[in-house]
Subunit: 199 residues, 2 copies
Amino acid sequence: MAYANLPLEKLTEHLERLPGIGRKSANRLAFHLLYMPQADAQALAQAVEEARTRIHECPICCNLTDSPRCPICEDVRRDRSVICVVEDPRNVPAIERTRGYNGLYHVLHGTISPLDGRGPEQLRVKELLHRLSDEGVTEVIMATNPTVEGDYTAMYLSRLLKPLNIKVTRLAYGIPVGGDLEYADEVTLSRSLEGRSEL
Amino acid sequence: MAYANLPLEKLTEHLERLPGIGRKSANRLAFHLLYMPQADAQALAQAVEEARTRIHECPICCNLTDSPRCPICEDVRRDRSVICVVEDPRNVPAIERTRGYNGLYHVLHGTISPLDGRGPEQLRVKELLHRLSDEGVTEVIMATNPTVEGDYTAMYLSRLLKPLNIKVTRLAYGIPVGGDLEYADEVTLSRSLEGRSEL
């Protein structure tokens, strides 16, 4: 463009890189940010920075938290003999909402996907094995997404854990195949927790 | 929620307030911001703050700019005898893209809309009148949106300017009625510039 407004273009470019936001939406958001009250715009910018500086992985379960350890790992009322393994931090509140699970979690932060060049070493598998050697865990529930990569990751982990004499189970297929755990409703998720089967 | 992650929830809430972004999208964006490289997240936050601190209205045409005066008002090659009046800063690049206009602009920052409690005093009408008394302007083109409020604003301004012996014209109705100037294609916009009629 001949007449540049650099701060505006820069802001639009940054917004355009976010998922699900195209050029027109980015432009609309940028103008919204310009016209909204100064304090609100600043609060949004600060919320981004604060989230990035304060949120880190729990040293035990690898879930995202702003405490030294995450509140679930800290909670003495949780059953420490079961660990539910999920792909993504967003899956933890999804399972919590069922109110059908009282054990601990382990967040892998991804799946094994050789096509995308992601092997087990990119996931928090080492951290999971470390927990199993210490904590008196008797069951590991695989709650990866019901996709090819999720299933493969669950199979891979179950083979890794079998020699440790730990019961490895998988969420029942009440979840629609090919779907995403994040968007499953509470009842469906509850059913698949109840009907979990040994791998 | 029983297990709170406050910085994450705060970030999600702020994102949810943006136009066109619901709860799920806000959550998805928040996690994207957490997983993207630290430098990119910080750059986005800084772009928001920088846009807010550096962008202001041009003292002449009221367009948004990061220079003391906007580059169009500063450009000596522009025809200073014509002013094109638009509702919104986004309409300026839309008209610039037609390459069919070489005059100056005036940005009203809204329309007159009695139902929403917006009168002429909320718009940059005073600033427009001030320019017309100084600058040797012979024509004012009304390029407000072809909506009820846009038409009403154009009519209001034309009655205000007629006594000053200035030719007041309106963009031709090549623009689809009820549409938004921002999304009109270049050809349609060019046609309506060419076919402008006196009010």
